[in-house]
């Protein structure tokens, strides 16, 4: 367990996203109005920076590039999305937003990467 302070609660406006660097790990903080969430900073589709491409509305996060969408609270896929969002564990202590970073979360942008090439082409 490694809880790290990311930012202050009023560093991120309601219904918006802001990216922070936490000891070299990029973390995207979302303010849902009543709660915060923490994700890896890039869209799981084509590595867009969600801080720039992301739109928060009604509890949904939309990447404006190809309209992949997710439930902000859970990271579940909606609409066109083909991969869920990953989440860091997050807690708020008074005014501080803290995230539990065991290791940096990153999306697997290559399909079938678990397979070796022999299996891949079967």
């Amino acid at each position: 367990m490694s809880w790290k302070r990311v930012c202050s609660a009023n560093d991120v406006a309601a219904n918006s996203l802001k990216q922070f660097d936490v000891d070299g790990v990029p973390v995207l903080i979302a303010n849902l109005g009543d709660e915060f969430r923490a994700y890896p900073p890039l869209c799981p589709h084509m590595e867009e920076r969600l801080e720039e491409s992301g739109i928060c509305e009604g509890g949904l996060l939309t990447c404006s590039k190809h309209l992949w969408q997710w439930e902000m609270r859970t990271g579940e896929m909606r609409g066109e999305a083909e991969k869920p969002l990953l989440l860091y564990e997050l807690k708020q202590e008074n005014d501080d937003v803290l995230v539990n970073i065991e290791k940096e979360l990153e999306y697997e942008y290559e399909e079938d990467s678990e397979e070796d090439d022999d299996g891949f082409w079967d």
Binding site: T62, H66, L67, R78, E82, E111, W121
Partner: protein, 348 residues
């Protein structure tokens, strides 16, 4: 050459002709290969090839190559010929083609009637030897002998089994095709074309009100959509609202055509020209009766004028990337449209 492929949807094979791009060959055979720009930029059509020597990369510097891991055999299907039988794998989801999908064809046509619409926008037509079909909102990839590489342009007109396609091109500082078109006599040139392409198509059977937001040359596909809507009396029963963004009135074009659309269906069609760099108070045009003018960026003007009245709407968006991004924000944040009712083809 035989292309054997696999995706999550299963296995497929298709024949790729000599000199034919793998993407176009698959689409010609009705396969729902993933793509957006079809011209090497967006990276959407990436795939893996088992033996890199079986394909030829036509544009090693393509911007879309930044999405590739070359050492894994990744390549862009829109920028590759098959030079031997090859095996490919497609990572993106392959949805099935709609039943009324119009298959892609590769053909030739002659550029005619090139003409200036504004100081930096030209229109031209292509006359085809054989008629083709397309859906309103679609584009083709054009190639001419003097300019390397293909360019995607949306059709302005709408007609089934047509022998004439109409296009517009905006002059860009380093745009080699636009430089060629503006500086030389293009008329009479034989162009290669592949199409139709693009999924942001008008689907009258949806029976929704159309909301179109276009910037600059993005108006092309919207003209096609409005043409079809007018030809088929769609706007007798359904609303149509177009916001067309340009810098100043001098940059606007198709105003006569748009005014004609509106006068045919004055109760249901509304067109607003949004001028980002000119105050509306100074504007007097013959179209003042039928066209609205407003000052501001087109997606902001659209939000203001729609005033949260987005009843039963399907939205179409086309234009430069920052404008498309702004329009999508308007449609999600202000119109609260679900993503499947926002239609656009991404070219960058």
């Amino acid at each position: 050459m035989k292309v054997s492929g696999r995706s999550k949807a299963g296995k497929f094979t298709f024949e790729c002709r000599t000199g034919e791009r793998i993407l176009y060959a698959g689409l010609r055979m009705g396969l729902a290969l993933p793509y957006e720009c079809a011209t090497g930029t967006c990276g959407t059509c990436k795939a893996r090839v088992r033996e890199p020597a079986t394909i030829k990369d036509l544009w090693p510097e393509a911007p879309g190559n930044s999405y590739l891991q070359r050492e894994r055999g990744e390549f862009l299907m829109c920028q590759a010929h098959a030079i031997a039988d090859c095996e490919i794998a497609v990572p993106a989801k392959m949805n099935s083609m709609p039943e009324d999908y119009i298959p892609l064809v590769s053909t030739q046509g002659t550029i005619v009637n090139s003409r200036l619409l504004t100081h930096d926008v030209m229109a031209f037509d292509i006359e085809l030897a054989d008629p083709i079909d397309f859906d309103a909102g679609q584009f083709v990839v054009l190639q001419v002998p003097d300019v390397e590489g293909g360019r995607a342009y949306s059709m302005v007109n709408y007609e089934r089994a047509t022998r004439r396609l109409e296009f517009i091109v905006k002059k860009k500082p380093d745009g080699r095709f636009s430089e060629w078109l503006f500086s030389s006599k293009a008329d009479g040139t034989v162009a290669e074309l592949c199409g139709p392409l693009g999924r942001a198509i008008f689907q009258p059977e949806e029976a929704k009100n159309l909301l179109c937001i276009a910037g600059g040359s993005g108006i092309a596909g919207m003209m096609s959509i409005l043409s079809r809507g007018c030809q088929e009396d769609y706007f007798k029963d359904h609303g149509g609202t177009l916001f067309f963004g340009v810098r100043t009135l001098n940059d606007a074009f198709f105003l006569d055509e748009l005014a004609d659309f509106v006068s045919a269906f004055p109760d249901k069609l509304q067109v607003t020209i949004a001028l980002s760099d000119e105050e509306v108070a100074s504007i007097e045009t013959p179209h003042n009766g039928s066209l609205n003018f407003a000052t501001g960026f087109v997606h902001i003007v659209a939000a203001e004028r729609m005033n949260r009245h987005y009843d039963d709407v399907v939205a179409y968006v086309a234009g430069p990337p920052p404008m498309v991004d702004g329009a999508i924000r308007t449609l999600i944040l202000d119109a609260r449209l679900p993503a499947d009712l926002i239609r656009y083809d991404k070219f960058s």
